[in-house]
Amino acid sequence: MKKLASLKTSNIKVSSFIEEYLFPQKLYLEISNKADLKIKSKKVYKGQLLYIDNNNSYYSPVSGDIIGINNNYLEIENDFKEEDNYKGIDDFTTKTLKLSFKDKIQNANFDFNKIDKYQNIIVSGIEDQPYIVNNTLLLEKYTSEILEMVDLIYNEYHKDIIIVVKDNETTLINKISSLIGSYPYIKVEIVPNLYPIGNKNILSKYLNIKDFYYFSSEDLYYLYEDIVKDRRRSTTFVTISGNALDKNVLVNIKIGTPLNEVINALFNIKEEKYKIIKNGLLNGEYVNEQLIIDQSIRAIYIMKDINIVEKKCILCGKCNNVCPFKCNPYLSLISKGKYRSKKCINCGLCTYICPSNIKLGGYVK
């Protein structure tokens, strides 16, 4: 494994406040033809099981009426009442306290048996891609909640727990340090702000830990809401940032909300020409404003559209030098993409560093 890279970031600063967009007019949930529908009436409640698709359960994020299925999307009209038949609780009740962990996780949307076969659990408070703050900010804002969830898992499975944070996140480090005393089995590892240290294989080599289950802070927060607060997941956190926007912020959005609704409500786009990228400036995907926000979306970048001209390779060798797994991106280039190393993690560093702007191993598609 080679030396990791330090990404050169620009002036985009993501705010430390979390905004919300929780009242969309309509929601759209992706559904395939093979989905097993569980809807019995047109009226649905928040948290109600709607369908099972590809072994995943999909719950209604809002209360409202089912309009129908259009273009592989289940359309729900929001009645803005937030009625649920899956009752949430604000405080611990004695009933909940008496329940064993196994009873609590019975209806959870996560298979906890996966954890059992590992010796360690890593809780990631780091983000690799530039300008994404999900794990970092959620761990900072909901430290007690996440630690509580970690504590529940520890009491059940007795695994070694390591929280990983980056060295430039001083506020987060201070916050965790102030609370960690109550959890003597939790270790904190501080890693350098290099890319792509968030990759599991690289993190494993850096920490010298081979056998671990990987949780992101975001995963643990949703689990906490699900198991401890008895609230089915209805929202998702998305960092919306970019040099074409007036602000950069982490937004809590209802699953199924169209992106254009969020942008129109919360942001002003400063540029006439812009591009929208999801999930990574180095290896994400170009999308349009009609994108529907679902659980897989962690970041949206709205960037000024710059004409990037691809030039002839100048044989500088930087792509090979920067690759963390020595995947030989130059060979991939001269074989016209036919050769692709199995070790390639699609980090996008080769494309990022190329002075000729050639799309090599990983890039924004």
């Binding site: 990404l7 090979n320 074989s335 036919k338 560093i353 702007n357």
Partner: protein
Amino acid sequence: MTHYEIDYKKIDKILISLCLILFMIGYYKNGLIYVLHGELKFINTLNYILMLGISMLIMFLFKKKNITSKDIIKAFLIVLLIPPRLNIYIYTFIVILFNIIKKYIKDESYLDILIYKVVLCLLMPIINLDYQNIIEVSTNYLYGSLDNFIGEAVGNFGTTSILLIIVFFFVSTMNYYFKKDVSIYAFTTFIILEVISSLVFHNNFVINILNNNMFFTTLILLPRVYTPVYKHFEIIFGIIFSIISFLMLKTGIVNAPYYCLLIMEIIFYILRRLYIIMINKKYNN
């Protein structure tokens, strides 16, 4: 931020400034100093300024609005690399030819500058030209190591200042994709060979090392032409270049580094083509 960005314009501005300083040193060394000593008339020195003007003008005519800072640096290098007594008409012809070829090659490397210099080197014995200027040709000067270092020795019009060539190299390393390793390995090999040679043949290795053609080729041209992508081959390329240049210099070929680099570029081009054909056959079948 999908691509690593550096302020290329800032680096190129510094390099252009260095080129201007090299031109001024060349102009002073090959003209102005003799005017001050009364050995030459001022009007006789104006051809160098005219040559710079011709280089810039022809570049502008060919490129028009698409001029980049790299084109300006190349336009300077065209003047800096001339033998001091080169006839202005021959010079103009070669510069026009250079720009015509450049228009069709469209290469960002300095291969065009290397080819231009090799053409000049091959032309020199034909038109009975060497690196002495108009005064040096009729006078015997004994140049020491310090003269070589600061730029007073015999050489190209504007690349005799080894000190400034080293500064040019260090400024170039600010550019992240500048291949400094090939230069470092090449130059280290050359120094080792000269030291060994001086021990064997009892000569002054300092004077031999301070060869401005070798400095210019190794530090300015070599990292800017095509060298292997893979690190170990890049180092081998640099070492082989040094060894062959050293041997050719010992046989008395003054322009050895330029010839050696061009020959290696041709061989490397052929090997690269063969490698690409082999890779495409392997992965596209």
